[in-house]
Structures are given as C-alpha cells and as structure tokens.
C-alpha cells in the first residue's frame, strides 16, 4: 500500500464564521504502482485531499500514511522531516504555470532537485532530462519561462516536478485549458511515467481520460468517498448524481452491445481498443 487515508477530516477556518468542512471522514487506500483517478463535482474536496498526501495540509482528525510517513492530526504521531516526504511525493497543482519564477527554463526546472539536495550540475542534468520527457528541446533551456505560451509554461512546471523523480505523482487537472492535442500528449506523458513504476493520482473532470488511463477511480461527494471502483463498473452505475458524465465511447459500445454486437465492455479503454475488438470480430466472420 502506498497511500492510506484513515477516517480523515479537514476543516477550513476552524472556529470562525467562515468554517467549512472540506473532508468528512475519508478512508481510502491507493496501491503502489496504480493509476488512480480522483473525480467529483467542483468543491467536493479533491484538491484538499491531495494536499494531505504530501503534508501541505494536516488532517483536523484522522491520519494519512504514505509509505510509512505519517501525517496525523496528532502532532506527536506525525513523522518528522517533511522534506523527505515531499521528495517522495510530487504534487503538480492546478494551473502550475503560475509557480514559475526563475530567469531561464532550465534553472526553474532545476529548482526542486536543488532544494532536495542535488548539486547544481546534477540538478541541471535532471532538468534537461525532465524537459526532454515533457517534449521541450534544447532551444528552450535558456529562454525565460515568462515568454513561453501557456501550454509550454505548463510543461515546464510539470518538468519541474518530474525532475526530482518522485515515486508518487499527483496531478491536479493537468489538461484544464489545453487544446485537445496538447491534452492528449500530456496524458500520454503521465501514462508513460506510470509505466515506469510511478504511482499516479490524477484529479480530473474528464471521464474519457478516466476510462482510458485509470485503473482505480475514487468518487468524492461532499467531502466523503462515494465510490471506490474501477472505471468500467463506475460507468455502469448512475453517476449523474455526482455530476459526472459517462464517456462517449462507453455509451457507444453499450448501445452496440444492446443491438447484439458481441463486444467486451471491460476491455474498452478508448478508440484504439474498440478498433481492435472490431477488427477481431471482423476476423472471426471472415
């Protein structure tokens, strides 16, 4: 088990009139090496939840355990050295492009590795590798991050987290505001990172992404866990109550099945897998 939430509560602005409960007894576990999608309507506590994983927030009640590192409401039980945890868990915030500040792209990406104790040269090397991963070539190294386009800025910001090779990668709506192609290549990147053995937690509103990439879905509703399941069984249920939309491809395959097509719903992840199944069917008939 990589990440375990044990009955976690979180209250913002405690003991003031602005008091709001963001998490309301969340218990869940995320396995090592899994790709977990975190979904739910706006304001249901997704962002609050992920901030507990690298101890930016500490629970008002309950406990979060990340590979033995304990983030508890009880200060005595809380593990020391938060830096060790943050080195282990990379969190990419929503609209991460606003966190850029260095003069050059490579310096900005090397910022986190340097903070986590790497030497300047090592950090720069890691930065170059991370920039390569997100698809930015050498011509970007010496440019100012402020003269890049929105999509490029976001790639730089994500590279800034990838550069220190976290074992757990949390991304909060990485595709928001990107063009469809950009979103696709962004998701392909996370898929590739996941394949290299990194545990990925993805906050998203896009159910097509959930269907294509995730192997576990956590549905949050009003600060509580409403469902923990795999994407296909989730879309089998009535999910409009959580303000979620069934992916188009899933609906298409369901309709096709209803008309007698012998397709396997569980194997549908996106267009390519549908095409494979159709090709297989055609092969059988021929």
């Amino acid at each position: 088990m990589a990440i375990i939430f044990k009955d976690v509560f979180y209250v913002y602005n405690k003991k003031t009139p602005l008091e709001t409960e963001a998490l309301n007894g969340v218990s869940l576990s995320i396995e090592k090496g899994s790709f977990t999608a975190l979904v739910g309507r706006t304001g249901c506590g997704k962002s609050t939840l992920v901030q507990h994983i690298n101890a930016l927030l500490s629970p008002s009640k309950g406990e979060v355990e990340v590979d033995g590192w304990i983030n508890s409401s009880d200060k005595k039980r809380r593990s020391k050295h938060v830096r060790e945890l943050r080195k282990h868990v990379g969190l990419v915030f929503q609209f991460p492009e606003y966190q850029l500040f260095e003069e050059t792209v490579e310096k900005d990406v090397a910022f986190a590795p340097k903070n986590f104790g790497q030497k300047d040269e090592e950090a720069l090397k890691a930065a170059h590798a991370a920039l390569g991963e997100v698809g930015l070539d050498e011509s970007f190294y010496k440019r100012s991050p402020f003269e890049l386009s929105g999509g490029e800025k976001r790639k730089v910001a994500i590279a800034g987290i990838l550069a220190f090779h976290p074992d757990v990668l949390i991304v909060d709506e990485p595709t928001a505001g990107l063009d469809p192609l950009g979103a696709k290549s962004m998701m392909a990147l996370f898929e590739q990172i996941h394949r290299s053995g990194v545990t990925v937690v993805l906050v998203t509103h896009d159910m097509n992404i959930v269907l294509s990439y995730a192997d576990q879905v956590v549905v949050l509703d009003d600060g509580k866990v409403a469902r923990i399941t795999d994407p296909v069984s989730l879309f089998g249920d009535d999910i409009e109550a959580f303000s979620l939309e069934t992916p188009l491809i899933y609906r298409l395959v369901k309709d096709l099945k209803a008309r007698g097509a012998p397709l396997d719903l569980n194997a549908i992840k996106g267009l390519p897998s549908l095409a494979d199944q159709l090709a297989a069917l055609k092969g059988e008939k021929a």
């Binding site: 602005n13 003031t16 009139p17 602005l18 901030q51 690298n54 930016l56 830096r83 943050r86 080195k87 990379g90 969190l91 990419v92 915030f93 991460p96 606003y98 966190q99 850029l100 500040f101 910022f111 986190a112 903070n115 986590f116 402020f146 800034g160 987290i161 220190f164």
Partner: protein, 286 residues
C-alpha cells in the same frame, strides 16, 4: 496561515458591525488622538492609559477578536520593546521624578525611562487594537464608501474623490485574492522542496523570491484583466452613478459618536488642565 487572518473582516453580527462605517472611522481616529494626548504626571498618564486600554479591550471583545491572538502575533514587537528600552535607558532623562533605578559609576538610569517605554508600548498596543476593531467589523467596501463620503467636500477643489475611493476599494478588494494567491504559490513551492520557515538567510531569500515573483506576475495579470473588463463595460470614472448599498446614519450612530466625543473631551480636558484625580483625595502623586 493564521497570521494572515489578522486584520481581516470577520462576518459576525455585533453592534460594532452594524455601526455606520463613517462613524467607526471618525470614532477610531478620535480615540487614537485621545490615546496620544500628552498627560502630565506619571500617575495620571497611566490611569488614563488604563482607562483607554480597558475601553479598547471591551470593544475588541465585542468584535470577538481575541486579545491573546493579537499579542501572540506581535511576537516581533518584543524586539522593539527591548530596542525602546535600550534607547530610553541610554538617553539622559530631562526631569526625572521616579527616582534612580541604578547608578553605575556615574551612569544614572531613572525609573522614568522604564515608565516612558511602557507608555509607548501601551499606546502602540492600543493603536493596533483600534485598527483591528475597525477592520474586523467593517466590510472593506463599506470602508471605501465612508472614505468617499469624507472626501466628497474636496470635490470643490477638483479633488478626484470618486477615483481615489475606487482605487482604494480595488486595492482592498484584491487583498484576499492576493492572500489566496500567496497561499497557493507557497504550497506549490513547498511541494518543490522550498522551506519558508527554516534555513539560513540566503536560503530564505531565494525562498522568498520564489514566492514574490509569481505573485507579481499574477498581480500584474489580474490588473490588466480588470482594466480590460472595466473598459469593456464602458467604465467612466466621471459618470454619475447610484449605489446599491446606501449608508444610513441611525440613532445608535449618534449615541456611539457622542460617547466617543465625551471620551475624547475628557482626555482633552485632562491633558490641557493637568487635572489630577488623586489630588481630590489629598494624595500627592508623581
């Protein structure tokens, strides 16, 4: 982020919240002047200081801000306290009345020095309390309405009262937004291994730049967006406009203003006449 909540508007519904903002601003100014009036004789100085302090504490209690929270947040003031003490001790006192505290080989320090420092610190605390009472119980928007109302007579000499009020209201309006931004950027940089609380001076300086630069960038962006949005809606500072919220002066405002005026008058009288309450009982004081 508790230190940020200090000085913010807190939406309770106390009588101080319901007072007219014009009344509150005038009242706070009068009380501040009263506190800083010079009063002859140490006994009377501290008696009057005590009365004023009692009033501010009662008012503060009415807004439900805790005095301890304020004192706690002023930890940095202790440095100033020592600094003040040091200055008063080093400076020769003109006409000491409280006697000699110590005499080291001709270096004479009078108790007056300590009393002087105590007086200043008491005044400072009261001033902070008063501003806190004002900001905790008055919506920023109401405050700017009040400012505009006070500036209106200056329109005769072509002073741009409305424009100034608008600038102030925009500035106030964006304080919470910028605080949220600060919070967000801080968390993002903490995820990248920045430690804002520990480390040497140089480390902390780089930590601070990683916070300040993104903040500047977002502030400039917001200002541009706001300017565009205002222009799109045909904003004309010179246009005549009505107002949704109209300030109403009620009997309660008169009553509180009278009370403050009486308080101010009392302090003024004591200051000018040198009245000494202890003399009434035949006591001789310093």
């Amino acid at each position: 982020m508790n230190q940020f909540s200090l000085g913010r508007y807190v939406p309770y519904d106390t009588f101080l919240h319901r007072l007219d903002p014009r009344d509150k601003i005038l009242g706070v100014i009068l009380l501040m002047v009263a506190i800083f009036l010079p009063i002859s004789g140490w006994a009377m100085t501290f008696t009057m200081g005590g009365i004023a302090f009692l009033l501010t504490v009662v008012l503060l209690y009415c807004t439900r801000t805790s005095l301890l929270a304020i004192l706690g947040s002023l930890k940095s003031m202790w440095l100033m306290v020592f600094f003040l003490l040091a200055i008063y001790i080093l400076m020769p006192h003109s006409n000491p009345t409280l006697g000699v505290a110590w005499n080291l080989n001709g270096w004479i320090v009078y108790w007056d020095s300590f009393a002087e420092a105590g007086k200043i610190i008491l005044r400072l605390i009261m001033m902070i309390e008063l501003t806190m009472i004002l900001t905790a119980s008055t919506k920023p928007l109401d405050m700017t309405y009040a400012f505009e109302w006070y500036l209106t007579p200056l329109k005769i000499i072509r002073f741009p009262a409305h424009e100034v009020a608008m600038t102030i209201s925009i500035a106030l309006r964006f304080i919470p937004t910028l605080l949220d931004d600060t919070n967000r950027v801080m968390k993002a940089q903490e995820s990248r291994g920045v430690d804002f609380k520990h480390g040497g001076l140089w480390k902390r300086l780089t930590a601070l730049t990683s916070l300040i630069i993104p903040l500047f960038v977002s502030a400039f962006m917001r200002s541009e967006e706001l300017a565009n949005a205002m222009e799109c809606r045909g904003y004309d500072p010179k246009a005549k406009r009505t107002r949704f919220r109209v300030l109403k002066w009620k009997w309660f405002d008169w009553a509180s203003l009278l009370f403050v005026l009486a308080f101010f008058g009392f302090f003024l009288y004591v200051s000018i006449s040198g009245w000494n309450v202890y003399a009434l009982f035949g006591l001789v004081t310093l």
